[in-house]
């Protein structure tokens, strides 16, 4: 374990993968967070964009905010979605950048990737692809992206500096990072930070 990190990154990654495998396979299960269309409405996503997506694209959505709230993507932009899950934000992004843009969703959970790829095929979206990978080691060339998006993922990574470093590597100079994540207003005690169960729920 990297000494300055509160938890073992590999152990945390395993637990996160277990949790989100469940969300992929049983999106209506009992979780400590909302999922799906109800969550998208709560977070303020554009209703028309969400309504246009099939259930498979939305039901496993488990984000924590709207990464498009502060900036709408521009047509033609190249986008990387870090921790794309079943593809919800990637599909929203695909609609905003249009067919001249390109969206690469990256996730570490095979069950999520399978759902995302099925949906992309169903929708006939040639400008969206999903790759298996980690937020700490993005399978994307240097400075390829105009924009990196992410939603509720970085808080689940033990080494956030490594993640932000990777995001910076794949962004072109002047490119945008637009993400949603949770933040706490009260300090979390050190013993709680070391409790890996609290990271995932």
């Amino acid at each position: 374990m990297v000494e300055s990190l509160p938890v073992d990154p590999d152990m945390l990654r395993e637990q996160v993968q277990v949790k989100y495998r469940e969300v992929a396979l049983a999106p209506d299960g009992a979780y400590h967070f909302h999922t799906g269309r109800r969550l998208a409405a709560r977070l303020g996503y554009e209703t028309a964009a969400v309504d246009a997506l099939p259930d498979r694209a939305v039901e496993s959505f488990a984000g924590v905010g709207d990464p498009f709230q502060l900036r709408r993507l521009e047509p033609g932009e190249r986008v990387v979605d870090v921790g794309s899950g079943a593809g919800f934000d990637s599909f929203i992004a695909a609609g905003q950048v249009g067919p001249d843009g390109h969206v690469v969703g990256i996730d570490m959970t095979p069950e999520m990737l399978e759902k995302a790829r099925c949906t992309a095929a169903e929708l006939g979206l040639d400008h969206v692809e999903f790759r298996e990978g980690l937020a700490e080691q993005l399978p994307v060339d240097d400075q390829w992206a105009d924009v990196v998006i992410s939603n509720g993922v970085i808080n689940l990574c033990a080494d956030k500096q490594q993640v932000f470093g990777e995001i910076r590597r794949v962004l072109r100079p002047g490119g945008w990072l637009q993400f949603a994540d949770i933040a706490n207003g009260r300090p979390v005690p050190p013993e709680a930070l070391r409790d890996i169960d609290l990271w995932t729920g």
Partner: protein, 43 residues
């Protein structure tokens, strides 16, 4: 952390009650956890 990582022009959106009415609400309230949108530009 974002500035240290090489980002600038950082904007943070209004808090969203991400966990309200979910089973995680009580824990979220205890640490005042909310969702936020972040926007930053790579230097």
């Amino acid at each position: 952390m974002l500035e240290e990582a090489g980002f600038t022009d950082i904007t943070i959106g209004e808090p969203v009650d991400t966990f309200g009415a979910s089973s995680g609400e009580e824990k979220a309230r205890s640490f005042e956890v909310y969702g936020y949108a972040f926007l930053a530009r790579r230097r």
